[in-house]
Symmetry: C2
Subunit: 353 residues, 2 copies
Amino acid sequence: MPQKVRIALDAMGGDFGASVVIPGAALALMRHSDVEFLMVGDSAQINAQLDAHPALKAVSRVIHADIAISMDEKPSQALRRGRKSSSMWLAIDAVKHGEADVAVSAGNTGALMAMARLNLRMMPGIDRPAIAAVWPTVRGESVVLDVGASIGGDAHHLASLAIMGSAMARVLFDLERPTVGLLNIGVEEVKGVEEVRGAAELLRAMNPPQLDFIGFVEGDGIGKGAADVIVTEGFSGNIALKTAEGTARQIAEYLRSAMSRTWRSKLGYIFARGAFNALRDKMDPRKVNGGVFLGLNGVVIKSHGGTDAEGFASAVEVGYDMVRYDLLPKINQTLNRDGHALSIVPNPQEAVS
Amino acid sequence: MPQKVRIALDAMGGDFGASVVIPGAALALMRHSDVEFLMVGDSAQINAQLDAHPALKAVSRVIHADIAISMDEKPSQALRRGRKSSSMWLAIDAVKHGEADVAVSAGNTGALMAMARLNLRMMPGIDRPAIAAVWPTVRGESVVLDVGASIGGDAHHLASLAIMGSAMARVLFDLERPTVGLLNIGVEEVKGVEEVRGAAELLRAMNPPQLDFIGFVEGDGIGKGAADVIVTEGFSGNIALKTAEGTARQIAEYLRSAMSRTWRSKLGYIFARGAFNALRDKMDPRKVNGGVFLGLNGVVIKSHGGTDAEGFASAVEVGYDMVRYDLLPKINQTLNRDGHALSIVPNPQEAVS
């Protein structure tokens, strides 16, 4: 691998800005030495942090930006205030101008999506963006999309999600032909909404060599790892993701309270501490941090705003993988063959405008 | 409480029919002595089971039905074959004709909903049914609806779900004015679909004295117990419910495998067995079995098809509570005051026809 992966970071993004972004980048660098960084944001803050990480400093270039988008700014407001000048915009801009291969931000989702869309534009054949998440399952991991970029969408939109998600699964999981399932509900007779049934017909008709469409998957199939890629529109996808996160936290709380109830359970906890640590590790949300924006002419990764350095490093590593293993070429490869079927996508309501 | 609660059971419903339904009813009777049963189905099978439960037999009347609806029958097929003659239909029919206060079936959801709708008809002011589930949370329990009866729906439909769900929460949790949240996604700016925002405006305008509308709740708010009642349309509600079930099973599997890995963790498990049993109890899906069909002129409860006697007993007890604590009068009480706002509900696509 001759070339380095060049990663632009919105150093001001997230709840903690440079104090998490820079240490996170340092962790990612320890795991991938073939990386260079563009650090975008307040140069004084960035340099102060970089001084503590000389190895990172040696592979980083700082681009000063006066404006930082706040976490509660509306996308329209963020665009008015920060277009062409904010750290978020300039990180994306580096991708657009070929100075970076990927941009990573822990800033607010709506603003990041709006800026990415306006600056990078949609890929030919795709006209609505998606956010894909990596979802831990009992079999390993699956790609789930859309987890909140676009609400609703017709059969063509869902089919385009299937294509983009399968490209991502090929990159992440090193699979030739990932299995793809459409999220649906199990009520008999109708079996879900018209668009979902239409997408199933479309995917069966297209039968792309890069993905293996296996049909419908219900909500409980996600955690089972019923398919490598689970496709749904952004409203239900976001609800599924958040509900799963909530359920995991709820059970963790039950477990904590159960283990601290009696001296026997406390003793049991001490003996089984290794097992609990392994479990905690397995359920650690930081390990799966990094939503991938799909459908754009460029790779943009969204980190959770409230994450720590370890979590931010995960998001950086997702970006690294997407570049190193050719996400965009792989999406294009499938789209070019099946682009025709997807070129007639209408324009329903969107979550982020 | 002078009158007994009269419960009609579809004794043929579910994966195991009378062999689960009758023992389940016997368990429910042990917890509520003020109950009478109508057992509908193959009388030979029912009587054979009743012989093992003399106390139950003493408060049961058997109604013979030749036809049993199977779990994979389509609603239309079930109606053609089983209308007026199946155990499922006749159990509902007993409610219609005032011979029972509630019908409970573990039979297939689509067929049960189709028959309940055709026979009992919708309440005035409501024209689409819903299924409500009881969802365990860290604070206790919440009512979540619709978990799969009707796909999509406008602001009025969502507001009617809020009214029916809050009546159910008043019944189940003995609350004067349950809090109600609309399930939504957290993308900035637009904050979810038009219908959800419309429902929020409607609920704020109506401000019914029987419920306290608290605004939007995201998926991770359900498990936190962010509101006593969580309202969403049937597609996303079903996905949320199944995703949570899947996540709980997934974590239980992680936990099992973590605890059996080393001798230390196995020893820890032995010491903490009481805590694990408490946890298992807390996560036991049988304890929250019993989906309530809402919007009909009568109370119908759907049990999971694959449950055991303990689970079926839970469904029977949900039915008991709904009758004993006046679900239908409480829904009507709210509807009569606010019926006007809800009387203009159009007719979007439905999952069960």
